[in-house]
């Protein structure tokens, strides 16, 4: 394992039509580390993710993936080395579960037999029955779709995973299951993970480190255990918003 960061933001700003969406962002994620980007809608979380896989290029500064600036990466190669999970899986509705999971291996021209074995392996990894392989996404539950989404992201064994509100559409029980399973999975896989959420509970459960974004700026960046003790007003507001259950009326 290298000591180099897998993902590094170096004074990155991004403006869209003159409107700043991200300002002066420094960030780094080591291999094996899970960074949670926490923040409200519009705080710049998704923009940050899109800069990593070169769906966007920085207006200023540099984003480096495996030490190479994204401007120098071939975007297609870069994206195939980053697993990407979105809310509700973002699965192709006209592909079966098997073809969805096999997406990247197939476009990378793996031999069919190897693809088939890999799909079985991944179904097992994410806790899905093999019989689901021939189903279409619409024939699955939300939790199953999300598992397929995770399997698809892991298919070509990318060193980096990014998850954008990945478990946001799930019911609380399924969600909690997925969080625990993903954490266990990450302990085995040791990927560099960036996990976007607006849920502090989820952040604390998943993160090695939490970065809090607001209006395109990073205002707190702390190990998960220290985050709850942060004195920053917004961090405290988060902690208060999520503390305990309300008293029943």
């Amino acid at each position: 394992m290298t000591h180099e960061a897998a993902i590094e933001f170096d004074r990155v700003s991004f403006r869209l039509n003159g409107r700043p969406l991200l300002q002066d962002l420094d960030l780094s994620v080591m291999q094996g580390e899970t960074l949670v980007l926490l923040g409200r809608s519009g705080s710049g979380k998704t923009t940050t993710l899109r800069l990593i896989n070169r769906l966007l290029l920085p207006t200023e500064g540099e984003v480096r993936v495996q030490g190479v600036p994204t401007t120098q990466w071939d975007p297609i190669r870069l994206r195939r080395s980053i697993g990407y999970v979105i809310q509700d899986g973002g699965l192709f509705p006209h592909f079966t579960v098997e073809r969805n999971i096999a997406l990247v291996p197939r476009i990378e021209n793996w031999p069919p037999e190897r693809v088939r074995i890999r799909v079985r392996e991944l179904l097992d990894t994410v806790g899905l029955n093999e019989q689901l392989a021939s189903r279409y996404p619409a024939e699955l539950s939300g939790g199953q779709r999300q598992r397929v989404g995770v399997a698809r992201a892991l298919a070509a064994d990318p060193p980096i995973l990014i998850l954008d509100e990945a478990f946001g559409a799930l019911d609380p029980i399924t969600r909690s299951e997925m969080q625990k399973e993903f954490r266990a999975l990450q302990q085995r896989m040791q990927k560099a993970v960036i996990f976007v959420t607006h849920d502090l509970r989820e952040a604390l459960l998943m993160a090695d480190r939490i970065a809090l974004l607001e209006d395109g700026r990073k205002i707190v960046d702390l190990p998960a255990a220290e985050f709850v003790h942060s004195q920053h007003p917004l961090a405290r507001a988060y902690v208060e918003a999520f503390s305990g259950l309300p008293d029943p009326r």
């Binding site: 896989n53 769906l55 297609i76 190669r77 870069l78 994206r79 195939r80 980053i82 990407y84 979105i86 809310q87 509700d88 973002g90 699965l91 192709f92 509705p93 006209h94 997406l103 990247v104 476009i107 279409y136 996404p137 619409a138 024939e139 698809r152």
Partner: protein, 214 residues
């Protein structure tokens, strides 16, 4: 002489004109699809062109069909044969539903799905052929269905410039003030349109079910 009797005694001619009619409308629709579908794809990629292309196809639709036949008459090669001319005119009419539906079909694909595909490292070509076109295929076939039915209907007018088809009976019947002869052209033409509509409607529903699987 009643309608069925006329059909029976002239069955060879009915058959010939029906085949001619199918050829006219079929070739015209095919031509329109070959031009219209790529044009529809193009304007999803270069949105600046969409107004021009859709507007142009719209303007063509507003030209009365007989006038369009007349406009094309002086064109070299095209004007030499009535069949060529009729096919071109019909193809121009069929263009709008094909361009419009291809454009609308691709634009209506769930942006999250396209974004996921792009983020997973699909190239533009892979995204188009593996994701956007399959998911838009139901809407595109709906356009093809409209184009085909319109072509079959309009092809009856092709007889006015001597391009043949079932319109021959209709114009002859009008000249003879003979309803049986008119019906000998109109009924098969209507049945053709109905058959094409049912067949493509079935295909459309089959393909459309792809996108419901979200």
């Amino acid at each position: 002489m009643d309608f069925w009797h006329f059909m029976l005694t002239n069955r060879q001619q009915v058959l010939d004109l029906t085949l001619e009619h199918i050829t006219l409308a079929g070739v015209a629709t095919l031509l329109a699809a070959i031009v219209g579908i790529p044009l529809g794809i193009l304007i999803t990629r270069v949105p600046q062109l969409s107004k021009l292309v859709l507007g142009g196809a719209n303007v063509i639709q507003t030209i009365p069909s007989l006038a369009l036949f007349g406009f094309l008459l002086p064109a070299p090669w095209i004007g030499e044969r009535a069949g060529r001319l009729a096919i071109l005119a019909l193809a121009l009419y069929a263009l709008l539903p094909l361009i419009r539906n291809t454009y609308a079909g691709i634009r209506s694909v769930d942006p999250a799905v396209v974004e996921a595909g792009r983020a997973m490292g699909l190239t533009d070509r892979q995204l188009l052929f593996q994701v956007e076109l399959p998911l838009a295929s139901g809407v595109i076939v709906a356009g093809l269905r409209i184009a085909t039915v319109v072509s079959i209907g309009l092809a009856t007018i092709a007889a006015a410039i001597g391009a043949g088809g079932l319109g021959e009976f209709i114009f002859r019947g009008l000249a003879m003030v003979n309803n049986q002869v008119i019906l000998a052209g109109a009924v098969p033409a209507a049945l053709l349109a109905l058959a094409a509509d049912l067949l493509l409607g079935w295909l459309e529903r089959r393909l459309g079910s792809l996108r419901v699987r979200t």
